[in-house]
């Protein structure tokens, strides 16, 4: 949300006493050295999750060839440590319930108009109707509920079919529509539960997710939709039992274009660029900005991220590579020719791209605080508390020409009570001051020379640097930043925030990754970990 971006910028005079992780007084706890003796990790929780609005839309497009995206107006909240698929967001209310009801009616109606291509049978003769419906249970039903339906479930659905079929004036289509509506509103569709099977002989009560539960979890994580038939078959036919089985399927999923799209949905939340279209810029200050430019910038960033992921590249490439694909709309902002495939040496990876920079700025200026906060929280995985009560959150007034760096200096004067929080953010953001509020390169700010010396304070990536290239390289090489990337991907894969128990699993996953491991290797490490494939046994 817009408000969250601006919040960190308000803190001038009164004490900043928030709980700080990673300040100089409380060093960040580092991951253990790689050669520590592995120990058995405790089993982790697995709360129930629900399909997100985006997953709902992807699935109905997948299963019913319906690309109308009925859930696009349902907001899906996310926050610093909770992606849109987080278990904490799962909550039903009347509005959502009615949405699922009317959406199912609409989806069913439209699906029936193309039932010949969507279902294995269509417009059957009277004597074949129930057999056809049975086939639909086996295809559409199986994929929607991510498993073969039980006999009881088939009985319930057939009961609906018969009841509606018998209504005065009802047709086969009316009755089938009712069946489809039930499938799309049932808890088997809307909720994702992982119960598993208890592991015999485990030190602590641990359950291994069933192959079908594993299939759903893999597919939602990597593709953002339900398992395809091949994955369901593998699960139901004993070919998703071992970690080798899982890795084989994961590699297959990663090779699909769906993996790229699924990854972009993770990345746009992780990097806080998903609401770029809502970001306004002052037309007088930034005449180059427009909705078309905004869309082009978002597309450029996503092409870069998608190519990096799908091309088997790694975190360092994400931070430092200059590959791009720039169209005529965006080219002026980078100062390159339309069609350029590489950015100039003043640019590097994601933190130097127009979309990221514009998303992390104000309408009329840059925001070193917001940029620094994003890097601190999203790329170093450290918390920064909001301004505590009693703090003056009004912006310091302008009295004459000054750079934003100068105006923010009150935040980090030693002795100011904003110091302990803002020194974690502002000095990082200063390093990006050679890009303006829409990401265009500059050498002056308000007529005064830009000073882009910066500093990361605290943690293992600590140190001074000058400019965005050095900052990007510093993060690319940082064990802390690499570990944070693993953590973010882990949160998204698990649909929850890590607990103290997860650290052992994250350590193990990290150890399993070779130096320079690709972003896809990280996904493999997560999906083959015990944390992904098992859970603490339910009481």
């Amino acid at each position: 949300m817009l408000m969250r971006r601006a919040l960190a910028c308000m803190c001038v005079l009164v004490g900043c006493t928030g709980r700080i992780v990673g300040s100089v007084d409380e060093p960040v706890v580092l991951p253990p050295p790689v050669d520590e003796t592995p120990r058995e990790c405790r089993p982790v929780p697995s709360p129930m999750r629900a399909l997100t609005p985006r997953q709902y839309d992807e699935i109905v497009a997948d299963l019913l060839q319906d690309t109308s995206r009925p859930a696009r107006d349902l907001e899906a909240p996310s926050s610093e440590t909770r992606f849109d698929n987080h278990a904490d967001w799962v909550s039903m209310d009347e509005v959502r319930l009615r949405f699922y009801l009317s959406s199912a009616e609409g989806l069913a109606t439209r699906a029936l108009t193309r039932q010949a291509s969507v279902f294995p049978c269509a417009a059957p003769m009277a004597a074949q109707e129930e057999a056809c419906v049975g086939q639909i249970f086996d295809t559409f039903g199986r994929r929607a509920w991510r498993r073969t339906l039980t006999a009881d479930e088939r009985t319930t659905l057939l009961g609906v079919f018969r009841t509606v079929r018998a209504l005065s004036g009802a047709t086969y289509n009316d009755a089938l529509s009712a069946v489809l509506q039930v499938v799309l509103q049932s808890p088997q569709f809307l909720y994702v539960t992982e119960v598993g099977t208890p592991v015999v002989g485990a030190t602590r009560p641990t359950s291994r997710l069933t192959p079908l539960e594993t299939a759903t979890k893999l597919s939602l994580y990597l593709w953002g939709t339900v398992p395809d038939v091949a994955l369901l078959d593998a699960a139901e036919q004993g070919r998703l039992e071992t970690k080798q089985d899982v890795e084989r399927e994961v590699r297959r999923l990663l090779a699909s274009p769906k993996a790229r799209e699924g990854y972009l949905h993770f990345a746009s939340q992780w990097l806080e660029t998903e609401h770029l279209a809502d970001v306004s810029k002052n037309a007088t200050t930034f005449p180059l900005w427009s909705p078309d430019v905004s869309n082009a910038a978002r597309a450029e960033l996503e092409t870069f991220i998608g190519d990096t992921y799908a091309g088997g590249k790694n975190y360092a490439a994400l931070l430092t590579a200059r590959d791009t694909s720039v169209n005529a709309t965006l080219a002026p902002l980078y100062g390159v020719q339309a069609g350029a495939t590489s950015l100039p040496a003043s640019r590097a990876g994601v933190l130097t791209r127009v979309a990221w920079l514009a998303a992390h700025s104000h309408p009329e200026a840059t925001s070193p605080t917001f940029r620094g906060k994003s890097i601190r929280t999203r790329m170093l995985c450290e918390e920064v508390s909001p301004p505590p009560p009693g703090v003056n959150v009004m912006l310091p007034n302008v009295t004459g020409p000054a750079t934003i760096r100068q105006r923010l200096s009150v935040h980090i004067e030693a002795g100011s009570s904003c110091f302990s929080c803002h020194r974690l953010m502002d000095p990082i953001g200063f390093g990006l001051e050679s890009y303006d509020g829409i990401g265009v390169s500059r050498t002056t700010d308000n007529g005064l020379p830009v000073d882009d010396r910066g500093e990361i304070v605290g943690g293992s990536t600590a140190g001074t640097f000058t400019g965005p290239i050095e900052l990007s390289q510093r993060l690319a090489d940082s064990p802390e930043a690499n570990r944070c990337y693993l953590t973010q991907a882990y949160r998204y894969a698990q649909g929850r925030t890590e607990t103290s128990r997860d650290r052992c699993h994250l350590d193990a996953a990290q150890r399993s990754l070779p130096a320079g491991a690709s972003l896809q290797d990280v996904a493999v490490a997560i999906t083959t970990s015990d944390a992904f494939l098992t859970r603490e046994t339910l009481p």
Partner: protein, 453 residues
């Protein structure tokens, strides 16, 4: 009759002809002995120029200040309230927007606002949802348009159970979309019976879900189940013939962020048709560019607020921009009040006679996150229980001196009436005289003296 679109969506001040709206109401609903009471929460965020919102002169014949003057024509329907503080937020160390939004309508503070990036923070049911559960059953519990979500959620069914809001277009589809396409009673009957079968089967399918989930997750599934059963009841009500004809020119999907008039119209129509008795709407969403036709820099309303009313190299101009922008809210509120006043209600009189439109802000002064002296204006009469045309001033002492620019969260700084007591008064005005406390009882002492009657 084909109504030209411009008749519906003209600029400020132009309203639909009253007879036309009457013709959209269901015949059955028109002749009813007593109209139900409705309540509408009209939410503004980021504060107001609260020092310019107090009427002068006789408290019983309002002399409106500049910022409230757009309401001159309806001032006999207004109860202006000053001296309401949000006490429950005291001592809370967290994101002021999370705290303010989660506590305004719930009157309960959670103890862990420190959680960075947490889930929805509401500590219990908000007043709108509490009233939705206690007022007579209608096809909809409440009508929610443009509500904040996630950690900024304001409307709650219960602790951490936020309610969803739709945008204007989706809300129109939700309320009236089903009426498109057919008037054939046989088709309508078949559709209704089909829905019943579908919902029954969905309920049945909860049996088949592996029952072994954690206790916390079982609460969520049970909640879904109870909502389904509740939905069955309400759908049956809807089928009993409150077939309110929709506006033949619905809002478009793209341009719905600026339609103050249409939003007011939609709520008024839904209330008049008794599709619901409760509404919640956020006028200044932090999510989208506000709809102000006046100046503020850049498009980031939140940052503009934090710059304060005297910011920049031309503070005189800035202050005037603030006054003009804040006055716009009164213009918008007037549009709503006029609309409700123009709609005839089922027992004679106007919809406004039987409604309370509660205009309330998250903050008193947004620039420095201050929760003291939150401005409140109530329009309407709730079936005669609220007189109107008055100022109720509960200020006992001035808030923290604005020139200090630092909000106080000290318990001792909250000296005025509580938001909790305001909600008790609203509940009582809605006919719930057994309500003597709302939210955290330690902040309640009963309704606001003099509000009802």
């Amino acid at each position: 009759m084909k109504i030209p679109r411009r008749h519906f969506l003209r600029g400020a001040g132009a309203l639909l002809p009253v007879p036309l709206l009457t013709s959209l109401l269901p015949k059955a609903a028109r002749a009813q002995a007593a109209a139900p009471r409705r309540v509408m929460f009209w939410l503004q965020d980021n504060g107001n120029l609260r020092d310019e919102l107090t009427p002068t002169g006789d408290a019983n014949s309002l002399t409106l200040p500049y910022l409230l003057q757009p309401l001159e024509g309806v001032k006999s329907d207004l109860t202006v309230i000053r001296g309401i503080d949000n006490h429950v937020i005291w001592n809370h160390n967290g994101n002021a927007h999370d705290i303010g939004n989660a506590t305004l309508l719930t009157g309960i503070a959670r103890t862990d606002f420190n959680a960075v990036g947490g889930g929805a923070n509401g500590g219990g049911a908000s007043l709108d949802q509490y009233l939705a559960g206690r007022l007579p059953t209608a096809p909809r519990r409440s009508i929610n348009i443009n509500l904040p979500t996630g950690t900024f959620a304001m409307s709650y069914q219960g602790a951490q159970q936020a309610t969803t809001g739709l945008n204007l277009w989706s809300a129109y589809q939700d309320l009236f979309g089903n009426f498109m396409g057919t008037t054939d009673p046989a088709v309508i009957a078949r559709r209704r019976l089909t829905r019943e079968s579908v919902i029954d089967a969905v309920l049945d399918n909860f049996r088949h879900v592996n029952g072994r989930v954690s206790a916390a997750d079982k609460v969520k599934l049970d909640h879904h189940l109870s909502l389904l059963r509740d939905l069955e009841t309400r759908l049956a009500l809807e089928a009993q013939g409150s077939s309110c004809a929709p506006d033949p020119n619905p809002p478009t999907h793209q341009n719905n962020s600026a339609n103050t008039e249409y939003t007011a119209y939609l709520y008024a129509l839904a209330f008049a048709c008794q599709l619901s008795h409760v509404g919640v709407h956020m006028v200044s969403s932090p999510n989208a560019d506000p709809v102000f036709p006046v100046r503020f820099t850049g498009g980031d309303y939140h940052q503009w607020i934090h710059q304060g009313p005297d910011y920049g190299l031309d503070p005189v101009r800035r202050r005037e921009d603030w006054r003009t922008s804040m006055r716009w809210f009164s213009t918008a509120f007037n549009t709503w009040v006029q609309r409700f006043k123009a709609v005839p209600d089922v027992s004679g009189g106007s919809l406004l006679d039987n409604t309370l439109i509660v205009w309330v802000n998250v903050f008193g002064m947004g620039s420095y996150h201050d929760f003291h002296e939150i401005p409140v204006v109530v329009a309407g009469h709730a079936g005669g229980t609220v007189r109107g045309g008055r100022l109720l001033d509960y200020r006992r002492a001035r808030a923290a001196n604005p020139t200090n620019f630092g909000p106080s969260y000290a318990r001792s700084s909250f000296v005025n009436e509580t938001t909790n007591n305001l909600w008790v008064s609203i509940a009582q005005a809605m006919g719930l005289n057994d309500v003597t406390a709302f939210g955290d009882a330690s902040f309640c002492s009963g309704g606001l003296p003099g509000f009802v009657g």
